[in-house]
């Protein structure tokens, strides 16, 4: 009997030591789940949770909290997750101003942060950090792609963005590659809902095209008002204003608009097909670019967990940097500043049956990094 018990204890200790190797991992997800920007955060959270569920990895525990799109709340949540939840990794923030409030502080405490969306220029350049990985893009990227694309057809573009850091990054990015003349350059208020005054100026400017970056509800308002204004100048913009989360609200006004993004649901690779199918089956809606980036973030984390312990920071960072996962965006590697090197595509809004969605019509950049990597000393 004693022998049996002893054997049992021995066996148990073996089993527990085996478990100790696959230790539990806590991931803090701070994202926007209430307020006007909640659609983006919900897509982020849903895709992340689905990727974790599909992996069958039982050791990962998610701590998900709502930042209400407010920097001060995001900062409090990050502190709480680091101090009392003792998370190993942080991720989830959608908005650049929130990322600027949270990321520098978190990475200074040796917490690894993976960005599924925001990519402010400051964090890509001088303030880059070995603990900060951006799995989405640097903010300028999509706008640069549109500037590059505009050279083909247009000579006189009217450009428009909200008056805040990401808006200025946007127009800077566009102008970095655009060679034509500007018919006008206008900054609008953040959260502005009426664009009649701007549309009147566009009408008067003699432009041959309009480029705008107005994320979320701002873009919906602009497109609806533009379509009814009687102005027929073609518009284009980064994919944010023409993505799956807002196309239903814009309606047919968006048909035919060219926009840029690193991902589209029709990108031809195995990982993407599986992702789109799984997301649709689980949530009964099409995924957005935010969902795609979040899915990639989750799979990048999973790939690194398979290689190294999250407690061994150096090994884990190296495993992340290898980017050894199947990205839904096809080829994906990290630049020297831990920001993506990836293709940026030009998409067109089309109608599939009754559903508005995007299809790829061209490639603006292949293996595109960002303009700030040189300033990053890591």
């Amino acid at each position: 009997m004693k022998k049996i018990i002893a054997a049992g204890i021995f066996g148990l200790s073996l089993a527990t030591s085996g478990l100790a190797y696959a230790e539990p991992v806590k991931i803090g997800v701070i994202t926007t789940l209430s307020g006007g920007g909640a659609g983006l955060g919900v897509d982020m959270r849903d895709a992340f949770a689905l990727a974790m569920k599909q992996s069958g990895n039982k050791d990962v525990e998610l701590v998900i909290e709502d930042d209400a799109q407010k920097p001060e709340i995001a900062v409090q949540l990050a502190e709480k997750m680091i101090q009392s939840d003792k998370v190993d990794l942080l991720t989830g923030i959608i908005w650049s101003n929130l990322a600027m409030a949270v990321v520098p502080n978190a990475v200074a405490q040796d917490i690894i942060y993976l960005s599924p969306n925001a990519g402010p220029s400051a964090l890509a350049g001088a303030k880059c950090n070995q603990n900060y990985f951006n799995v989405a893009y640097q903010n300028d990227n999509f706008h640069e792609a549109m500037g590059q694309y505009a050279n083909k057809d247009y000579k006189k573009t009217f450009i428009l963005a909200p008056n805040y850091p990401a808006g200025k990054d946007s127009l800077t990015g566009f102008k970095r590659y655009y060679k034509g003349e500007l018919a006008g350059e206008t900054y609008t208020q953040v959260g502005q809902t009426d664009y009649a005054a701007e549309i009147a100026q566009i009408r008067d400017s003699g432009a041959d095209s309009v480029f705008f970056f107005l994320p979320g509800g701002m873009g919906i308002s602009f497109m609806k008002q533009y379509a009814q204004s009687g102005v027929n100048i073609p518009v284009m913009g980064p994919g944010f204003s023409f993505d799956q989360d807002i196309l239903p609200a814009v309606g047919d006004a968006a048909l035919g608009v060219k926009n840029s993004a690193s991902w589209s649901k029709d990108l031809d690779n195995e990982a993407n097909k599986a992702f789109v199918e799984a997301f649709q089956a689980e949530y009964k809606r099409l995924p957005s670019v935010y969902a795609a980036q979040s899915w990639d973030t989750a799979n990048l984390i999973l790939s690194a967990l398979g290689k190294a312990s999250v407690k061994d920071k150096d090994a884990f960072r190296a495993a992340l940097k290898a980017a050894d996962f199947k990205s839904v965006r096809g080829e994906f590697t990290f630049n020297t500043n831990n920001h993506p090197v990836q293709n940026i595509y030009v998409r067109e809004v089309i109608k599939e049956g009754d559903v508005l969605t995007n299809k790829i019509v061209g490639t603006a950049f292949e293996k595109h990094g960002d303009a700030y990597a040189e300033q990053c000393k890591m």
Binding site: L33, S34, G35, G36, A38, G39, G41, V42, N163, K168, E185, T186, Y187, T188, Q189, G191, T193, D194, A196, A197, E198, A200, Q201, R203, D204, G216, G217, I220, S221, K224, Q225, Q228, S229, G230, D245, I246, P248, A249, V250, G251
Partner: protein
């Protein structure tokens, strides 16, 4: 800069003003009659927009949606008054602000719970789509002209309601002396509920009209609410006439500021800086105007007698 552009911008300012008037009229009426600061007025605007979008999507008709928005906002307002607001009349303004702020949160999360986090689709009815030619060779969106028309009709209607009807008489009496009209046998509780529902319906109408122009989403009411407060402070709290003039002043000043300030600055400093600086100054302009008006007329342009 052409004459057509100037006319178009003036109409834009007028349209924004008219929309603000619909919001501000209810807000100022409620404050004037009941002495209540209602922060949740923006939520009623949101209720109107969501009701219109949901009913229009279900029935395929914007007009049925518009009627639904009036009913839904008035009903939401009446329920709000009976369950919560009624308890606040005797309290001080801080309690009112706290309670109605809580209502904003309840309405926002309730709407999200019902309709989800993604914006709804609401389109302009076919009858009002497209643009019409303007004198001077420009074009103007027909739907915006229609909003201006609705605003003028509502302003005239409110004028008659308040100056010519029995309800209007009671509202005026209620503003002047609450205790006295209660002592004269007027059912003040019902009067308050009716005034509140009327103000709510106007906010709902504004929400539905504007919902077709922009995105119908949770939190859409608060930016409009802030402007509506600026309007009633400029116009004189409690005065419908003040709300009308204040709204048009704010609408025109805001639109013209956004349009002209960056251009004016570009004459003095390089264009690359004039854009962002002009935009930043333009966003402050209405508050500067408000401060100036308050400096010379501390109780607003058309202060109600108190």
């Amino acid at each position: 800069m052409s004459i057509a552009l100037l006319i178009e911008q003036l109409l834009n300012g007028l349209q924004l003003g008219v929309m603000l008037f619909l919001m501000a009229a209810g807000l100022t009426l409620i404050f004037g009659v009941m002495g209540l600061i209602n922060l949740a007025h923006g939520s009623l605007y949101m209720v109107g927009a969501f009701a219109c979008a949901a009913v229009a999507a279900a029935t395929g008709s914007f007009w049925i949606g518009l009627v639904a928005s009036l009913i839904a906002a008035a009903a939401a307002g009446a329920i709000m008054e009976v369950t919560v607001i009624r308890r606040l009349y005797e309290r001080d303004h801080l309690d009112q602000v706290l309670a109605t702020f809580a209502l904003i949160l309840i309405f926002s999360e309730g709407t999200r719970w019902l309709f989800g986090s993604f914006p709804l689709y609401l389109d302009i009815p076919p009858l009002l789509q497209g643009a019409v030619p303007l004198p001077g060779g420009g074009q103007y969106q027909l739907y915006r002209l229609a909003i201006i028309g609705v605003g003028i009709v509502v302003a005239i209607g409110l004028y008659f309601l308040i100056s010519r009807t029995r309800l209007g008489m009671r509202i005026r009496a209620g503003e002047a002396d609450r205790e006295m009209i209660a002592a004269l046998g007027v059912d003040i509780r019902t009067l308050y509920t009716v005034v509140f529902a009327l103000g709510a319906a106007l906010a709902g109408l504004a929400g539905a009209l504007v919902g077709a122009l922009q995105s119908v989403q949770v939190g859409m009411g608060e930016p409009a609410l802030i402007l509506a407060f600026v309007v009633i402070v400029i116009g004189g709290i409690g005065s419908i006439k003040g709300a009308l003039f204040g709204a048009i002043l704010v609408g025109v000043v805001d639109t013209m500021g956004r349009f002209l300030l960056p251009k004016a600055l570009a004459l003095m400093i390089p264009a690359a800086q004039a854009g962002p600086i002009g935009a930043a100054l333009a966003s402050m302009l209405i508050y500067v105007v408000m401060a100036l008006i308050l400096a010379f007329r501390p109780s607003g342009l058309f202060a109600a007698q108190s």
